[in-house]
Symmetry: C2
Amino acid sequence: MKKIVGAIAALVLPCLAQGQKTWPPKPAQLAQAVREYRLENEDRIVRELSEFLALPNVATDAPNIQKNAAHLMEMLEARGIETHLLPITGRGPVVFGKLISAEAKRTVIFYAHYDGQPVDPAAWTDGAPFEPVLRSAAIEAGGKRIPFPTNGANTRGAYNDDWRIYARSSSDDKSPIVALLAALDALRAKGIPLAVNLKVILEGEEEAGSPNLQKTLELHKNLLGADLLITADGPVHQSGRPLVFFGNRGDIGIEVTVYGPVRALHSGHYGNWAPNPAMELSRLLASMKDEDGRVLIPGYYDDVTALGEAEKKALAEMPENDADLKRELGIAKPEGRGKKLVELIMEPSLNVRGLRSAYVGSQAQNVVPEKAEASLEARLVKGEDPKKKFEQIASFIEKQGFFVVDHEATLEERRAHARVAKVIYEGGYRASRTPMDLPVSKAVVEVVRGAAGRDTVIMPSTGGSVPMYIFEDLGLQWIGVPIVNYDNHQHSSDENLRLGHFWRGMEIYGAILAALNW
Amino acid sequence: MKKIVGAIAALVLPCLAQGQKTWPPKPAQLAQAVREYRLENEDRIVRELSEFLALPNVATDAPNIQKNAAHLMEMLEARGIETHLLPITGRGPVVFGKLISAEAKRTVIFYAHYDGQPVDPAAWTDGAPFEPVLRSAAIEAGGKRIPFPTNGANTRGAYNDDWRIYARSSSDDKSPIVALLAALDALRAKGIPLAVNLKVILEGEEEAGSPNLQKTLELHKNLLGADLLITADGPVHQSGRPLVFFGNRGDIGIEVTVYGPVRALHSGHYGNWAPNPAMELSRLLASMKDEDGRVLIPGYYDDVTALGEAEKKALAEMPENDADLKRELGIAKPEGRGKKLVELIMEPSLNVRGLRSAYVGSQAQNVVPEKAEASLEARLVKGEDPKKKFEQIASFIEKQGFFVVDHEATLEERRAHARVAKVIYEGGYRASRTPMDLPVSKAVVEVVRGAAGRDTVIMPSTGGSVPMYIFEDLGLQWIGVPIVNYDNHQHSSDENLRLGHFWRGMEIYGAILAALNW
């Protein structure tokens, strides 16, 4: 391990700030320069990645996660990046790094995480998630295990783009860190200066829910001055094309319990008389949305910040694979009155994620159940407040005739009210979205498109939820520039990285570092 | 055990057919005669019951359940009852008995079962469900364990009416058998002839669902000529008052599965687009009934055989404890637009007995579930056909826009139809009800009221379901004359028999045997 890190340190070259004819250089040229460097250094780059992947990195495994942080610190410092470990008791620290460029007027923070999901080695084809394996293709495409090419003079371009490295965090999320550092090495090797000051925030408990990130960053807020944060987490578009995204949805959870009689009653002796909570819950849920999936709760869409022209244009240009998805998923008619999936996930949602009342199937008993439960979830978009959303839903339940409580209903409450519902707010957080027509947004799109191709998918927001509001709260605009393949099995067994995506990621990050300017 | 059975055999006296001034005798006089006998023979009667209760009687425990049958045969033959064991392979036989009375023109079959629910000794206060225990009152009323009074000259009336015997089947359903035989002994001791020929059908697998009863009885149909069947199973009215009932409801089970996408989908990436099966199921269920519990399925009430005047009058006279039940069960407003519980259970019902889709509470996942299941159950009343009822419901589901299948839906079916529901008929059986204005019905009511009191509750039908159609199919009218206390913990731990009910049961059965005439 020492060997590689030391060798990379020796590569650090003085920045040749004014060595270019035009400044900043074209992203395509930068991508080409990074590619040239990469072709000569694939072995070195893959070895740095493999050494990193060999360190077990489950967030709760304190000794190992801290070894990862120490290793990262070496990797950063080898590049002359000023590095600080922002400690979290008993966990992996936030690894913070800073690299000032004399010419830069802007500062960009790069966010990634170095911890990975827990592993079940028995579920992995090769049985050892922390022993990186090279394969000739994805396992599901018949990829065979192959040896890593021998280090030597003849390794230029020895790695095929379709080859994959299998290991925990090979995609999620160690490889983007290595890609960034390799891009930095490439620029330096080619004498190309950085267009921006670079800071990095590398988190060690993202897969554990980032319980300490916000607190830790607030404690060290003075370090975080910047004009943009780029998150490297996540995969590219499912079409395989590069992706830039500007937001994600918020998310709140709500647990609803509708009460019947105080104990399950014999359905023969009490059926037709004792109110059935499963039926009352069904009626309540049915009242919440129409058959097209439109939420009927008054005001449900009122706080939505409308998409701008740039966002609408981006949506219209996004690749559509709804027909394929329908086939694959056995869906004859999606919700949303003909709107495309990518449009629909820009709207707030209300989802029944689970139902439970007494028993079904072979366990069914002839009873009027004592209660019926629904687990609801609302995805929020920009402009919506989580607590207000919850209150809107709770108030709707009340208007449907329920006496709403926030505790296990008492016998007296049940005696007094025809319908009683416990409605519990499970918490959640707001959406976060950077407007696409900001100069910085346009600049990032331009650089990524220049480096990675005009077919780069531009997405105003993903449908999922990541607590990026944490960065927004710190006053940072953020944009997502993921690089890894979509079919990477993240969070599961046989996580893998397609090398072609890894290489292209370096080129994208190199172009951002050397050409981003707004 | 032998001692008691032998002693009883010695009691058998010649029937004094014409020993009465008027024939048949008044039920109240007969009750008095049985009471006189009982007061002198409490120890003997309780010992016979205790010996019977000491035999473990779970239907699937073949050696023991067959011991119960052999013991029963001794008990019957000791009374000169011609007894046959109608065999069921590997189970307890149907114990059939016949006792002809020279003067009788009618034959009455007495039905009861000698098997009991499975036991969990650890859940019983006294730890041994097959070791009968005497207590001074119900456990929940602070009843203490007391010794059985010593056999001897001073035992007349030694047993208090409120004392209880704790043991499996003490109520359900061994004590009615012992009560019948003790009533027979009493009549003989007092020289009172039987007014009817008596047959008994004592089943050994009722608690296991009577899987072989119909088949076994059909095989021995020649034995079953009779004018009436009296079932002794079940408790009296919850008010503690005696009960005569004339019917029960049928019951069918239906399992409904509504399909979503072929696998649970990330609710962020697919919510608002992928149809949610939990929501579709809710909408379907909500369409089935109105807020008062009235079923909205066309024709749902069409086949109901209307209650006659006698039934309506009986209902109007039934004790009403709806207000108490509401308080006890925490129900503010029952279904049924103000009708009483006893009226509502005379109607067909449609009950959601269970719901399931993905997970709720701490297990909830942010998914669009792949399916949602409801377990439905319909109680049927006289006039309704189980299969037709199922088809009515399935056809309604179809009219609500579902493509209905009777198998796990295929991918092709899911691709082709916006809504797909698997609707499975779990089977069931029809209701059974003997008209209350038949001469036999009036005669039974008259005898029971005469023996047990004018406050005897007369119920056209119970709300529950017991497959009494089996006897209807054999051409037998049937009437329910239960005797045991309502709070007997049947099917549960600490099953018990209140002696006052047991004593009164003997008087009722004695009156039926000696006075029933129509």
